[in-house]
């Protein structure tokens, strides 16, 4: 299925979807050495984002979070691509300086996307190829 959106960070990448219903803070919310979400009480606490297509509503927390995304991309623990409901400055900056393809404002809401489905994100065209069924939610 072809899902349209808006390109934020260029490049193309493929991975399995990891969907977070809650916003993510990269500073103190994600371990920069392992790519595991460590924020207490976060729905994805303990989950690794490494190599996933990480879908979440928007970023939160400190602007220093941009540098954490850069660190993750340098040590091989970054998400393959990022999909946001609405991009904000911290995640957009981190995605670009980390060379991580990113899109937002997708034509299908993120809650309808199923975890584990294989997707390809194209940050140049702002689109996503979704190889699966949508959830009923």
């Amino acid at each position: 299925m072809h899902i349209s959106g808006r390109g934020i960070s260029r490049g193309k990448a493929k991975g399995k979807l990891l969907v977070s219903p809650a916003p993510i803070s990269f500073l103190s919310g994600v371990d920069p050495k392992t790519g595991v979400i460590v924020e207490k009480g976060h729905p994805l606490q303990g989950t690794s984002i490494t190599g996933t297509v990480l879908a979440f509503p928007y970023g939160k927390g400190s602007t220093v979070g941009s540098y954490v995304l850069y660190a993750l991309s340098r040590n091989g623990h970054a998400p393959a691509a990022i999909v946001n409901t609405e991009a904000e400055a911290i995640i957009a900056t981190g995605a670009i300086i980390g060379g991580i393809p990113m899109i937002d404002r997708t034509s299908v809401p993120l809650i309808k996307l199923k975890e584990g489905v294989s997707v390809t994100v194209d940050g140049d065209t702002g689109t996503m190829e979704y190889d699966g069924e949508l959830s009923e939610a």
């Binding site: 220093v64 540098y67 850069y70 660190a71 400055a89 900056t93």
Partner: protein, 388 residues
């Protein structure tokens, strides 16, 4: 987003990978903030200069870049004076990391000035578009000078310095600069100095939040006093632009529609209540960094006296260099004039229990940033307390 042919070439990588990435970043931030086009800037002021803030990853990123700033650009204050850090008692390991961050910026063509008062170094004019980061500098540029800048994040401001443009949204647009709330000051302000204006900003910032205030009743305003007002309002609120009736350039044009706006009244007591006589073990002034005029006033007050507790004065290196005689007079008293840093960002200030300041911004930040009690007083009171 409208882009011109030069932009397209940069995005195609014709001027190297760093500039390509930096313009991508500017375009992405433009999308995030709803900009329709980019605007050329006159200068940039880049935050993310302190190693304490950006850490090892930030330093790695800076080191990976390869381009030169094409507009004049300076840095935010850092945790230590670049040259006199040992004298100030800064840890050598921290100093080495901090020097590495500064060196990385120097390689990118950023001037080695770490200051919140870039407007004392290079003339900034009404209507100039800028990409500045530090909250008090942004407030001063917008309000007192009538230049135009949003509060840029570190990477965004660096990108603007390297590409010479920033996304055109927010305070770059005339229609986004109108007053949103009136603050009516009902006090006799004739004897007020910077500290009173700072205390007013400390109080008003909490009430106006992120709105654009229009002040009335501040006929005693001077540029230095307004610097103190704006710095404090940006600390306790998120004010990046304010207007002062009959004083600031956009208010002086008299074109604002004020009817229907909420009115907040401020009285003498709201400001004077913040001045408490408590014992202190250090004095620190220069938040924001001192102007030549302020240095002269401090030198005059300290003449023939000796300080009995640590007395710090902070100013930009450029202002210090151009006023070396005045600085020497101040230091003759035992006070120290340091560049590049301040009481809010230097870890050295954490050694004190209570610090006296003449700044509303420092009053707001010293308790959290230095884990010390803060006392505000006029510059004359600061000198009196430190030389008793």
């Amino acid at each position: 987003m409208q882009l011109d042919r030069d932009d397209e070439r940069i995005l195609a990588g014709e001027q190297g990978e760093t500039k390509q990435k930096m313009l991508e970043l500017i375009v992405a931030l433009g999308k995030v903030f709803g900009a329709e086009r980019l605007v050329p800037i006159k200068s940039a002021q880049v935050s993310g200069a302190s190693y304490k803030t950006i850490g090892e990853y930030g330093l790695q990123w800076l080191t990976s870049l390869d381009a030169k700033a094409i507009v004049p650009a300076v840095l935010n204050p850092i945790g230590m004076p670049r040259e006199r850090w040992e004298e100030m008692g800064v840890d050598p390991d921290f100093a080495a990391k901090q020097q590495a961050v500064v060196a990385a910026y120097e390689r990118l063509g950023i001037a080695l000035e770490c200051t919140c008062t870039p407007y004392y170094l290079r003339e900034t004019s009404f209507g100039d578009h800028l990409a500045w980061s530090e909250s008090s500098a942004v407030s001063y540029a917008n309000s007192v000078i009538g230049a135009r800048t949003n509060r840029e994040g570190g990477p965004g401001a660096l990108a603007a310095a390297l590409v010479g443009k920033t996304p055109c949204y927010g305070l770059h647009l005339e229609e986004k600069r109108k007053p949103q709330v009136i603050v009516r000051v009902e006090a006799d302000t004739r004897n007020w100095d910077i500290s009173h204006y700072g205390a007013l900003g400390y109080h008003a910032g909490k009430l106006v939040g992120n709105r654009i205030p229009f002040f009335s009743g501040l006929e005693s305003a001077t540029p230095e006093r307004l610097k103190g007002l704006g710095a404090a309002m940006a600390a306790t609120g998120a004010v990046a632009l304010y207007h002062v009736e009959g004083v600031t350039p956009e208010a002086a044009q008299g074109l604002f529609e004020l009817s229907g706006l909420e009115v907040i009244n401020v009285e003498t007591g709201d400001v004077e209540r913040l001045f408490k006589e408590i014992p202190v073990d250090a004095v620190a002034v220069g938040c924001p960094h001192c102007s030549p005029l302020e240095l002269g006033e401090i030198a005059g007050l300290l003449k023939g006296k000796v300080v009995t507790m640590p007395f710090y004065v902070f100013a930009s290196q450029g202002v210090i260099d151009r006023n070396q005689k005045t600085v020497d007079q101040i230091e003759k008293s035992g006070a120290r004039v340091f560049a590049d840093t301040c009481m809010v960002v230097s870890p050295v200030m954490e050694q004190y229990e209570a610090i006296m300041v003449n700044s509303g911004k420092a009053l707001a930040y010293v308790p959290d940033m230095c884990a010390a009690v803060a006392r505000i007083g006029t510059i004359a009171e600061c000198v009196k307390v430190a030389t008793e």
